[in-house]
Subunit: 559 residues, 2 copies
């Protein structure tokens, strides 16, 4: 029987509950106290939008492990409505506020695990707390929004912030037949992605008559005569009405408890920890949205407020606290996914935009391919952007958007990143293939092949939003394709169908910098190879072809 120690855990959901159960499995003798300032422990935060929209019909489904189960099965002393208010590190004790009894008490610990999560950002604007303005973090929030959206006669909602949660809320409120306005400070939805990759999401939103205000932040909440929210004022001066306002502006880590106890806070505002999730005080661990993780693409510590890392880090911290040892918390890649109506968009690691911001040299290729064999019915096109280091070919990140197979491609790439993989190694992964499931050369391979071609100088890729003026642009699609949809932002593109190119080389100037383009980049790749081997010294392939070019130009115009 292991040591009889007291483990106190602050926060009873993703990180905290995961720590508690693993701690119990590793140590039957320990006293394990789980403090949760709100009513519920172990609920499915990530399910809240779907409960609001009614897609998850039963509220009870959101209670993943009840307090009762945690008590009976795991002998965890679950204390809901009890808030940790102060850590006394010297005395190894915690001040706790019992919100039910309205009392304070002190709790001694041998090991303390902090998983207090994060709080939705509420901007310092007028009427930010008016009735009808909501943030979404827990079940009580969800109940309130659902009540307001379903039970009142709300007809129109303003969602502020087009990140993961904002987009999920748009989808789910649309499901409730509300008219939706979506405002976002960035000039695009889903800011973690590169702008062109978000085009299909914006299209999905516009197709459902979601009114988009991009590049426009919130300036204030409008209220009616009773003081209820009736709309928002944007920084541009634009005003839009609405019966409820959802703020989905991101989160602020709940790091104050740690900070007040003198524990180190990292550069990104989360509690600083080592690979065992130990803070500067080895008896105090921190995990989840309040903490930082080792981030794969940069090798630095940063916050990654997602459920997977919180769960895994919580589990390891629980084990370490309970037994004195555990595996190290591996790098986190920031892999995330969201569904926006039929479209899925996923990302892992760095976008090109983020890499630039960090001063990291990054190349990218964008390919479009079917999610399974094209000859098998039901194939859907997905677009995959692979970001990598020009010197080493190390994979830095990827983004994928489409209606099917998006999660699989990002998970495969995220797995390769976990091993510090390069695009060369990615080109060799041996994936499952039968017509209903994939292709003999999977989209992941196509992206990796293209990246290797880029690294080897076999084919150089040009960003899809590049300025093409002054370059010799060759569009190698068929006449029919070109006239149906001319290449965006390339008015004097020379159209030569690929299959005629060798005969018509004389029409081109081999000394001019040349950009080739086609539908999605495949034919342009063949064309680029023909040109290069025929004396054209400077040839680039427009990444993602006319398809992604259209997205990029639309997004650039939007900015």
């Amino acid at each position: 029987m292991p040591e009889k120690i007291t483990i106190v855990i602050v926060g009873g959901v993703a990180g905290g509950a995961s720590a508690a159960t693993r701690a119990r499995r590793m140590n039957e003798a320990a006293e394990i106290i789980l403090l949760e300032k709100d009513e519920h422990v172990s609920f499915a935060n990530c399910g809240l939008p779907y409960y609001i929209g009614g897609e998850i019909a039963e509220r009870q489904k959101l209670l993943v492990a009840t307090a009762d189960l945690l008590r009976k099965r795991f002998r965890i002393d679950v204390r809901a409505n009890q808030e940790a208010t102060r850590i006394d590190r010297a005395a190894k004790q915690l001040d706790v506020r019992d919100h039910l009894k309205n009392e304070d008490y002190t709790l001694a610990y041998d090991k303390l695990i902090l998983s207090p999560g994060a709080a939705p950002l509420v901007p310092p604007i007028e009427n930010a707390n008016a009735p009808g303005v909501f943030t979404l973090r827990n079940l009580a929030d969800a109940d309130k929004i659902r009540e307001h959206a379903v039970k009142t006669s709300a007809r129109k909602a303003v969602v502020v912030g087009a990140g993961f949660i904002g987009l999920e809320m748009v989808e789910q409120l649309h499901r409730l037949e509300l008219k939706i306005v979506l405002a976002e400070l960035q000039p695009q939805v889903l800011p973690p992605l590169d702008p062109e990759m978000t085009y299909p999401l914006e299209k999905a939103l516009r197709d459902r008559e979601v009114q988009l205000y991009l590049g426009d932040g919130i300036a204030g909440i409008l209220t009616d005569e009773r003081g209820n929210a009736s709309g928002v004022k944007l920084q541009s001066g634009e005003v839009t009405t609405g019966d409820l306002v959802i703020l989905g502006l991101g989160v602020r880590p709940n790091s104050q408890l740690a900070q007040e106890a003198g524990l180190e806070i990292g550069a990104t505002g989360g509690i600083a920890v080592n690979r065992f999730s130990q803070t500067a005080d080895p008896d105090i661990y921190a995990v989840g949205d309040a903490a930082e993780y080792p981030y794969g693409p940069t090798g630095k510590q940063q916050r990654v407020p997602l459920a997977g890392p919180a769960n895994r880090a919580g589990r390891l911290a629980g084990e370490h606290a309970a037994s004195g040892a555990s595996a190290e918390m591996p790098d986190v890649q920031g892999t995330a996914i969201v569904r926006v109506f039929q479209q899925a968009a996923a990302t892992t690691g760095l976008s090109v935009k983020m890499a630039r911001k960090l001063g990291i040299d990054a190349w990218s290729v964008t390919i479009a391919a079917n999610h399974h064999a094209g000859y098998y019915p039901g194939a859907k096109q997905l677009v995959l952007k692979l970001v990598f280091a020009p010197e080493t070919g190390k994979i830095l990140g990827a983004q994928c958007v489409g209606v099917a197979g998006v999660d699989k491609r990002i998970d495969v790439i995220a797995t390769a990143m976990q091993f510090g993989g390069t695009v060369r190694q990615l080109a060799g992964v041996d994936l499952s293939y039968a017509p209903p499931f994939g292709s003999a050369k999977d989209p992941v391979h196509m992206a990796a092949f293209s990246a290797c071609n880029y690294l080897d100088g076999v084919d150089l890729f040009l960003d899809s939003d590049a300025n093409l003026s002054g370059q010799q642009v060759v569009d190698v699609r068929t006449e029919k394709e070109v006239s149906a949809k001319p290449l965006a932002g390339a008015d004097d593109a020379i159209a030569i169908p690929l299959d005629d190119l060798r005969e018509r080389l004389g029409e081109l100037d081999q000394d001019r910098p040349t950009v080739v383009s086609c539908g999605v980049g495949v034919r342009a790749h063949v064309a680029a190879r023909i040109l290069r081997q025929n004396g054209f010294a400077d040839v680039q392939n427009l990444s993602g072809g006319a398809l992604v070019r259209e997205w990029a130009i639309a997004q650039r115009t939007a900015e």
Copy 2:
């Protein structure tokens, strides 16, 4: 412009056509001759069953790249109906038989790429070539089967061999409303998998009234008075009638051309090659079903007759032949997938059965989990078996079966294997999660966690088909669950619901070897931890719980 050399390619489909196009992209000056003994090049072999069943409605869809396109776009000299019959290595030339003109001629090469594929095995039995007996390798075969199945009044088919192609044929012939008999020499369908993992497939077959003869090989073909196939005789003496017989018995590599030229043949019967797909003669390459690959799980060369490796190796060989250099062909893991009605079954690397046969020490864990968050509607259970090395934790293989999300899990694990990954590393992969797509702790994580628990002695797993007699078996499910479905092959299991276990420890003998079990293994894991920490020295968790136990016992009985 690169060197003007002559590259001759034997075989115009997966490996051959991939080599040809890449060769052209790397070398505009080369003469590239693609020899194909049959009518069609570049067709979708893997789509043939779905064309026969009518799921792929247009035959033309199967022609991935037409000869015309290869000629126009890639300037490839496509020579259909022309068969390479002899290699003269000293003279660097090839004898070719033109089947249309019924002529022979000689062809000089600088580089020769062999991708002649494999031939379906036809056993040396009576009437093996009777009309109505079919094998399936190319379009002509598919046309014949389709003709026979659709246009004649065929009502019943006998499929011999329950491998990937056999199972696809069963599914597709069932779609054509034929009654089906499926015979397989092995005591299970899909022999690459461990027997218990195939239970859901067998169930799917039986549910559709496919008559199964397992552990029974074919002894002869029965014919009617006109000499047409009318059924099969099995080795057991059993006789079954049928209007057509499909032989899906695996393939024999077309290595004779190479062998006759004195090139080395590997231990598994494929042409031996190095990492550049070069045979013993550096000007002759071999790829695809006729060749061997470096196989990840063993580090040895072996045949892996699948389209992905053929395509990738062909591409690299084409590049090497055309330019004198290429990346090395990476390890192949043997990743494969098949759909059998609603069920998907996938595998990568070694099964436990294969590992045993090879004398490789292998441990395994089997878990069951939802393919996405259980609280989000539509979650489907999948079962995932992870096979790994006991000393190092190196992943040796995995198998997965279920109706959704199977390909993703196997692809993630196959990717980890590509990096020589261990189950410890797998436990840390950062996968995308939102409720419609996955879980915060994905099934891949659960399997990896369990494997780590096994390695660390936190929880030891017992194979689901183990003999439990003599052991103290504790079933920790609820009374209701136990009475609804008692644990198979464990008549004197002691039922103690998990939540009562701590109070009822006195009912158990802590000195007896103890096996715990529950629904799928999760509660048993908690129970095992309680027992171990309460003085029970020898505790094992029945892998996959009552669910997989039922499968294993059913399959054991079937043998």
